[in-house]
Symmetry: C2
Subunit: 354 residues, 2 copies
Amino acid sequence: MVTMRDVADRAGVSIATVSFLLNDTKPVTAATRARVEQAMAELGYRRNAVARALASRRTHIIAMAYPALDHKFGFSATEFLTSAANAARERDYHLVLWPVGNDGTELTELLGQGLVDGVVLMEVQLDDPRVTVLQELATPFAMIGRTSALEGLSHVDIDFDQTVEDAVAHLHGLGHRRIVLVSGNLTDPLFSTYGPYVRSEAAYRRIAPEYGLETVVMECSGSTQAGQEAMARLIHNHPDTTAVMIVNEFAALGSVAGLSRLGRRIPDDISVLPLLMAPEMAALTNPELTIMRTPGPELGQLGTEALIRQLEGADPLPPQLVPAKLYPGATVAAPTGPQPKAAAGRRGARKSRS
Amino acid sequence: MVTMRDVADRAGVSIATVSFLLNDTKPVTAATRARVEQAMAELGYRRNAVARALASRRTHIIAMAYPALDHKFGFSATEFLTSAANAARERDYHLVLWPVGNDGTELTELLGQGLVDGVVLMEVQLDDPRVTVLQELATPFAMIGRTSALEGLSHVDIDFDQTVEDAVAHLHGLGHRRIVLVSGNLTDPLFSTYGPYVRSEAAYRRIAPEYGLETVVMECSGSTQAGQEAMARLIHNHPDTTAVMIVNEFAALGSVAGLSRLGRRIPDDISVLPLLMAPEMAALTNPELTIMRTPGPELGQLGTEALIRQLEGADPLPPQLVPAKLYPGATVAAPTGPQPKAAAGRRGARKSRS
DNA sequence: CTGAAAGCGCTTACAG
DNA sequence: CTGAAAGCGCTTACAG
């Protein structure tokens, strides 16, 4: 292995000088620089990351902590992960993947090893024990998602308000007046404080009335099976529904299969609009889904960037909320059947929202 | 930060003794052990991973190198990744994710940093430049997948022969005599040497005749769109096909949609059997797919295990080939239409393969 | 069974 | 602008 010592000897300088040049931490004359750079090139020198980490107390490794047991690792999670890994690489950091429980004990254990400079937290609960752990250990971190209490916490997240607003506006504009939201299974303690469900539902309950719409929220677990079953309940309990918005991406896929099996034509009889989904997944159904596209690549990048800025002492990245944007497919269209009276009578009831 | 020095002082021993005990590398008397362990507990000592790495030349970090640009990161890849990350954690290793190109230049760059003990290679090409790089740098590695030349290379992979054999046997047993294989797009230089396509096709060409079947191989890129289009060609060129086996998981999903749009009933008119797919994906179609289930969790775990054994100098794990197993769904059934003469005439032509 | 000491390959005050 | 030296927190021959 070629060390800094070797380079210094060949260039006729001290190892300190090599280090200064390498890190651009002190000025070096052009002549010295040339000699050192030539020596490095000739020897094929590569700076040892471990030694650097020990001496500088900065490993340039960040961890992505995701609660493996509790959340399926779907397409969206994959987008977060790969974009975070790429963003880290671009900034000369490494990303390690830490599958940990939601309770923070494993996180404590891992952080104790001193291997990482900071942590990107995925699938954040409204009250997340991992946040407490990180704060107690004074470990820099950024959240992809948000706890309820946020003061001073670095985070990026989906803008659920804007996403739901855009989705409702789109459907309403097409003429839909019976729009149901399929959210999560809030009786499951794990998901009753899961941001995407809670925030989507809150946004829907606030926005739908502004459009003169009745609010109907259905609970549904995050699996294709559950999504399929939910559609049977929907048809039974809310037969006049013309459009369904659905939060979980797996359930959304199941809903299409479910409606088809129940003999409902999409989008002629009913429109389906997932609120959070990756395009790769949208292409999997027949017809291809119209979706609100999860900003996974953006958020993975932003979350990583927010963390690295903290680590480098740069200006902090302000919290960013990014909406899911409409990504056209073939499951949303104007309703064709007769409009329910109540809704029809409310046309124009939409409040101005300039 | 509590260091080994602090522990040693409080226990009244040298730091060497603490290290010996911690690593179980030299015997320590019960009395000494008790004192040291108490000191560690009282101080909340955690061994610093970076210092250990520098002194021992073993970082306990392994990298998963995946060619991000060239391969979609689908469900199967996610299964490999998460199971590898879990396996690493269980053995007290960390897994970093390296999105790298297929050509090995970035890999060289990253390996030079000395951060990882070894590499798990994903999406291995038959002739993979990354393998050359790893060998030249004498970096331990394990492949999930296989190059053509294998002597001495640690690897785990799908058992394509067994998988295709099982799939053909299953379909044949149900009465199918016109079984088409939809493989990859071999005109694309990147995929003409991609193991899953090449090996599936080779296995099919070898096995089908043993069952008295005519071999028909269709090319198809790895997207839902391509899978859909391939079905139009299939219906046109090979109208008497009763069953289709399809390698790529995205194309497989598209094929179901494509056949439906073309008015073919699945499985009444035609059976569909993907050769490599994750169950989460199989649930997405209507009807739900019968699949050969990719052994992603097994292979991710085995590949990681194979690498770690090399690193620890344990008995090497022999190369493992794991077949995809039949995972029942609703897209495979006995053919209902009239059997084509040629095939019918060959019944019983199956060679004995005891 | 235990310890003193060298060393892993860097970074970083400190001095000049 | 450059260098000598201490130190990061461990592991590991070597000696006893």
